[in-house]
């Protein structure tokens, strides 16, 4: 009797010392991966494909919880506040690295101090697209065309501070262009004005761009990647077009709250690396225009995050679009 009480007490004390998670028994219950954006997006689609494999590997169900709001900050904050026991993950992507620069004062979490990276599992690209009837054949002609418009041209952005907005600002800085940003709530609502030619340009996600380009409704001038897109192999890369610094690939990964046991992080990382080399994962990713990432360590993903934070900070500063 005394033994049991002692064991129970010491167990309790140990548990308190070690935090709420014990790395040996993890995972002992359902895992939740919070994606801080509205459901149905590319990140969610890819994450669902991934967690199906992770769930089989880790032996616990993993649910995807879509928590949109405030450009991803609502869901991200929720993860930052949750217990670092390995049972709550954040689906991290580019906006996770842009918010510090956009809201230096009001942001209530730090992507580097409140979170630890686990792994990145996929990337996707954006394409420079223009309406089908715009009289340009390639990026060079487009730049000349916009310059001749003398500030009359507009481009579509999927909300202020979005990747689409920031990437186009970077393009404007690199090519010395003048174009006004028209904000839309996400990419799909912008497509209609792009198709109709009311805006002259959009850095559009490949998943949306490919079918419209194939149908001749849009023209793709370049893909923002170092490699050509498998679906539209005729479209040159930005590197080929002479703008290597615009190869701004978008990535999807997993972060956990700071304080999550190292052993847990390593187990998730190993499971991710195992899943992303599976041929059926790559095949299903490809259907929604996501490329599986190369196997990577938490440190490598962390380095990518640091590099992205610096990159976007530079773009935000140069464009003067900080909102605090």
């Amino acid at each position: 009797m005394l033994k049991t009480i002692l064991a129970a007490t010491s167990g309790l004390v140990l548990a308190m010392i070690a935090g709420s998670a014990s790395a040996q028994s993890w995972p002992d219950r359902q895992i939740r991966m919070i994606i801080p954006f509205p459901p149905g997006g590319q990140q969610e689609v890819a994450s669902r494909i991934l967690v199906e494999k992770l769930s089989a590997e880790l032996g616990q169900p993993i649910i995807i919880d879509s928590r949109p709001g405030a450009d991803g900050n609502v869901g991200t904050e929720a993860v930052a506040k949750s217990a670092p026991d390995g049972n709550t993950w954040l689906g991290s992507s580019v906006p996770f690295t842009t918010q510090v620069a956009l809201h230096p004062k009001s942001l209530r979490y730090s992507p580097t101090k409140d979170f630890v990276p686990v792994a990145t599992f996929g990337t996707t690209t954006f394409m420079f697209t223009v309406p089908a009837e715009l009289p340009v054949k390639d990026l060079k002609e487009f730049i000349a065309y916009i310059k001749a418009q003398k500030g009359k041209a507009s481009y579509a952005g999927s909300g202020r501070g979005s990747v689409v907005h920031l990437a186009t600002e970077k393009f404007k800085q690199s090519a010395g262009l003048e174009m006004e940003m028209i904000p839309y709530a996400g990419q799909p609502p912008a497509i209609s004005d792009l198709l109709a030619g009311r805006v002259q340009f959009m850095a559009l996600g490949s998943v949306f761009a490919a079918p419209l380009v194939k149908a001749g409704k849009l023209k793709a001038l370049a893909v923002m990647d170092t490699r050509r897109n498998a679906e539209l192999p005729d479209v040159p890369t930005v590197v080929e077009a002479g703008y290597p610094d615009l190869a701004l690939k978008s990535f999807f990964g997993i972060h956990v709250p700071k304080g999550t046991p190292e052993a847990v992080i390593q187990r998730i990382n190993a499971a991710v690396n195992k899943a992303i080399v599976m041929p059926d994962v790559a095949e299903r990713f490809a259907k929604s225009n996501v490329d599986a990432a190369e196997p990577n360590t938490p440190q490598q993903y962390g380095a990518l995050i640091e590099q992205q934070i610096a990159l976007w900070a530079g773009i935000v500063k140069a464009a003067g679009i900080e909102t605090d």
């Binding site: 149905g40 669902r48 507009s154 501070g161 259907k287 909102t323």
Partner: protein, 501 residues
Amino acid sequence: MDLLGHLLLGLQVAISPNNLLFCFIGALLGTLVGVLPGIGPAATVALLLPITFTMAPETSLIMLAGIYYGAQYGGSTTAILINLPGEASSAVTAIDGYQMARQGRAGAALGIAAIGSFIAGSVATLVIAWFAEPMTTVALKFGPAEYFSLILLGLVASIALAHGSVLKALAMIVFGMLLGLVGTDVNSGQLRYTFGVGELADGLGIVAIAVGVFGVAEIFRNLEDEQEREIGVKTVSGLMPSAADLRASAAPIARGTVIGSVLGVLPGGGALLASFASYAVEKKLAKDPSRFGKGAIEGVAGPESANNAGAQTSFIPMLTLGLPANAVMALMVGAMTIQGIAPGPSVITDKPELFWGLIVSMWLGNLMLVLLNLPLIGIWVRLLSVPYYILFPGIIAFSAIGVYSVASNVFDLYTLAAFGLVGYLFVKLGFELTPLLLGFVLGPMMETYLRRAMVLSRGDPAYLITQPLSAALLAATAGLLCLLLLPSVTRKRSEVFIEED
């Protein structure tokens, strides 16, 4: 053109036992979530998204579409029975539908809603089959200037929704628009009227407000006097619309179908305007407009048909251009991408079995819904005789669950409670709540389009009238405004509005 061949192909796909089953499951689920206040189709579709992984693409879309239009059907049930619209579009149904229920004519209201929806859904299905491609070009003709003018027209027309004082209706529209301003400014990213409350960064929740000002406020109103309690109307005369009801509804259903089919094609909010527009038209055309707001069956038949037709034709921009009209459709686009099908112009040619299968299944689904809903009317109406001490807590609980499920946000529950009180106060003071909801929904949309148009034109207001379509819509608005103001000038305003005060 081989429309018949296409429809036959679609029929083959749609009546395969598997697809028929999932069409039924979708329609049934949709009806259920539509009936439960707040638990919207978006939450349901989001939950079911992973299941569609394993299905054939057409099967998954058939089911998701079933949930979508099933919910449109179901949403009007609670609006009629307990004045609890699950979404903005069924708020219009509540105006006359709930009054009919109070008069013991809930069965007739529910019946005409089901019949009208079925007819509208069937016609809209044919419209999609025939006109999908040409109508795609119409959708693209609408830019920010056109949408702004269209919504302005809708707002002016909606003053006709009020059955009391015009001034009070206007005040409510403006108050609703002000509430809609709360949140993040789209152009600058700055927060507006959030008073440091982080949860307000994305604005107030539409479901929380709608359920609060209609449902919760109605319960407050019923609680104040034990003797005059109204929820739980005991006298129910007839479960089906009478022959006279059907005759009175035929033309409104036809007009509602046309209005809904046309507006539904505009992905930037057309389907939402459909029920409001239809109500305004019916009131305008009625021989005795004073019956509206007091249980006029035309006020249920028209908007319900328009709503359902709009819900169907909003599939045109989604399937042909990948332009979703609302959150549910955005999820369906997601479901298509999971299956490796990019919604776009090539869907019709590359995946004819999917496109036509879906279209035929929509018609079958509508048929199932009417067969499902007509027998249910008896049950729904009997639900009203549940004692209030069970019914009220039940409604409050379901409302709270529904509102919370929209974004898993506790703050929405505070909004729900606060707007329950606000709604109660407004009802007591003789203000109507439908214009408030309308202002809340349309105000921010109008602002977005106006500001987008202004950025596009670099601040030139003339842009709104140099675009021909926009100019025409503005002219119509001006004409309507004159029509509205004229009777009040000649002291014959009661022909348009009932003098209450």
